[in-house]
Amino acid sequence: MASARPLPLFAGIIKDSFLAGLIAALLAMPLLGLRLVDSVQGLSLDTRFNWVLIAGIVVFLGRLCLALAGVFLGQRKERRGVAPRTASRTAKQNSWRVVMGWVLILGALILPMLPFAERNLIDKATLLLIYVMLGWGLNIVVGLAGLLDLGYVAFYAMGAYSYALLSQAFDLSFWACLPVAGLLAAWLGMSLGFPVLRLRGDYLAIVTLGFGEIIRVVLLNWADVTGGPNGLTGIQRPSFFGLPFSASNAKGTTFHEFFGLDFSPDHRVVFLYYVILVLALLTNLFVLRIRRLPIGRAWEALREDETACRSLGINPTTTKLSAFSLGAMFAGFAGSFFATRQGFISPESFTFMESAIIVAIVVLGGMGSQVGTVLAAFLLVGLPEWFRDLQQFRMLAFGGAMVLIMLWRPRGLLSNREPTIRLHKNASPDDATEGESAS
């Protein structure tokens, strides 16, 4: 249709883009155009109207390009026709995802041995893997059970603080504390979850958000135990089966002495990387396996229709509670790893932003999709890490990217609402996905 009357169409696009640019300039006027300047006499105003102009032009051009791209792609799509989602296509996609998953795992395993892998890269990869693990853990709660948890960071904090406090009070090693921290986080998840899990949807989201904030405020103010805003320092670093990664050890041999290597601080970095990789992969394996068990199938069923589940004899409270506390347990593991990696924790690290990032990773990745979580973690955490120099604009771009990805793919990058297993193999998946194929 578009080629039949190109002129009015393009005039319309330009008019539309011009309007968008005008509105952007209007919005930018008070906040970008006028700037508050601190001075000795208090605040004064400074003008900066060129920024307003730039904002207007950027929005105009952006809108223009988008509209033109839309016209161009629309024409191509019309010619080619949209491929319907068939069973074979879905199967092909799934096998492609499995291959991609293995490639990612192999890549992660050999990463520290690659020539270009310096310390900085491994450090960033470690951070990324923490978020991947948190994403996989939260995937149980949000992706499988369909419970929106905006306070996931509370369990992460619980894990971090319980490791830090246990190791300081009883001089226990990281490996001894790890399960305890996970159990404590799971216990917290259970005791927080028990009263609130009968709430539905958005209410649950807000209550969990409230719990996350309560935990943070308590950490901030309970100074006798948690150190208050100063946090806890001097947290024990992990050891390799009892061999510490230090230059010298008064009590015995160190890692490099035992293996006859030269001392290098990189050993610890690489070791930490492998620890989190193993922890994350264990999480992944656990999630993949439990999805096939009755409890995992109950989670997925509960996500789709709670009323139907209840009438089929599934107890919603215990089912939800198990998802909530298992998710919390993995956050606890990740938290104690975080504590041992940093050697220092404070309530600063456990703000609502962290919860938002983790939820965003799960939802943007496509709820329930394990590979999608990795992709989203890379997009949201990995990429911004490389742009640390643009510190200020990093979070702005982060928020913008969240909106854009949601607009582009409302169901996430790799959406996956297929049931994990089907009882009747010959039933065509087309029947189930008919309504959703439009997306």
Binding site: L27, P30, L34, L36, D202, I206, F352, Q392, V403, R411
Partner: protein, 304 residues
């Protein structure tokens, strides 16, 4: 007793401000069933625009306080409403009819982006404002704790009452209000009967943002300092207020706002100021557990 009265006055003032923000949440939730997570940020933007407005009045040489106040209110409401409109248009409208989580994530994204936008544009430092409205009544009974009501506090409460009355009339009497109520009950049916649903929803965001701008202006005047981070906590408290009063209910939002303001004031006064946010969240949890529909909300009917 004097101390109690003073806290009551302070609590009422803050409660009025929370109520104004809560209306934005409750209206949006009532109509499209989503938590507009970015509403706290809209309020923060309103506060910043009003602060800029006050300085602008100084530059323009308008010193007559009622006039400058009116102008600043108008500027803040206009621009903040424009922000509210733009947010809905960009981030929420394309996601209408999508999954329930999509707009929420989009809203969190908007909230993060706006916070950092203001931080970049205006700097991270706390922004002070010289008191614009000074003075007040002294209600002390001679001995004991000095009790005072500032003119500002009276103005905040009065303005809130006026806005609420106007707003209630708008919903109850005008055709716009009728369209809004119709959309709230059944969006598809309203659209079939010729209600321009998109426009109604846009108007809802515009009104909500304008009321948040009033709240932002009042907070700028009341506290005298703002920063780019005030939106988050205020947003959550206002949402708590909306839930406490019964989400979707306008008088409920106001009542919830007042209660939250009072609880916060008394908790800080008699227990501990550090844990005042915990008290508010604890109230939220308790209300949701024992009365999920809030104080004035209607029970939700489960549809299968």
């Amino acid at each position: 007793m004097d101390y109690f009265v003073q806290q009551l006055i302070n609590g009422l003032t803050m409660g009025a401000i929370y109520g104004l923000i809560a209306i934005g949440y409750t209206m949006v939730y009532g109509i499209i069933g989503m938590i507009n997570f970015a509403h706290g940020e809209v309020y923060m933007i309103g506060a910043f625009i009003s602060l800029i407005g006050f300085l602008l009045m100084g530059v323009l040489g308008i010193t007559y306080v009622p006039l400058s106040l009116l102008l600043v209110l108008f500027i803040a409401m206009f621009f903040t409403a424009a922000y509210g409109w733009a947010i809905e248009r960009i981030a929420y409208r394309p996601l209408r009819g999508s999954t329930r989580l999509a707009p929420l994530i989009s809203a969190i994204g908007v909230s993060i982006a706006l916070q950092n936008y203001v931080q970049i544009a205006q700097g991270a430092r706390v922004k002070p404002l010289q008191p614009v409205i000074k003075g007040g009544f002294d209600l002390s009974s001679g001995s004991g704790y000095p009790v005072s009501v500032s003119y500002l506090q009276i103005m905040i409460v009065l303005l809130t009452v006026v806005l609420m009355t106007g707003f209630t009339l708008l919903i109850a009497r005008t055709s716009l209000g009728r369209a809004q109520r119709a959309t709230q009950q059944d969006m598809t049916m309203a659209a079939l009967l010729g209600v321009n649903v998109d426009r109604v929803i846009s108007t809802t965001f515009v009104i909500g943002a304008a009321l948040a701008a009033v709240a932002g202006t009042m907070v700028t005047l009341y506290y005298g300092v703002i920063d780019f981070y005030i939106g988050f906590i205020a947003g959550i408290k206002a949402f708590t207020a909306a839930v406490l009063g019964g989400i979707g209910s306008l008088p409920g939002a106001m009542l919830g706002g007042l209660l939250i303001g009072l609880i916060e004031a008394f908790w800080s006064a008699y227990f501990s100021i550090e844990y005042k946010d915990v008290a508010v969240f604890a109230i939220l949890v308790l209300v949701l557990l024992f009365r999920p529909t809030g104080l004035l909300g209607r029970p939700e009917i489960e549809k299968v």
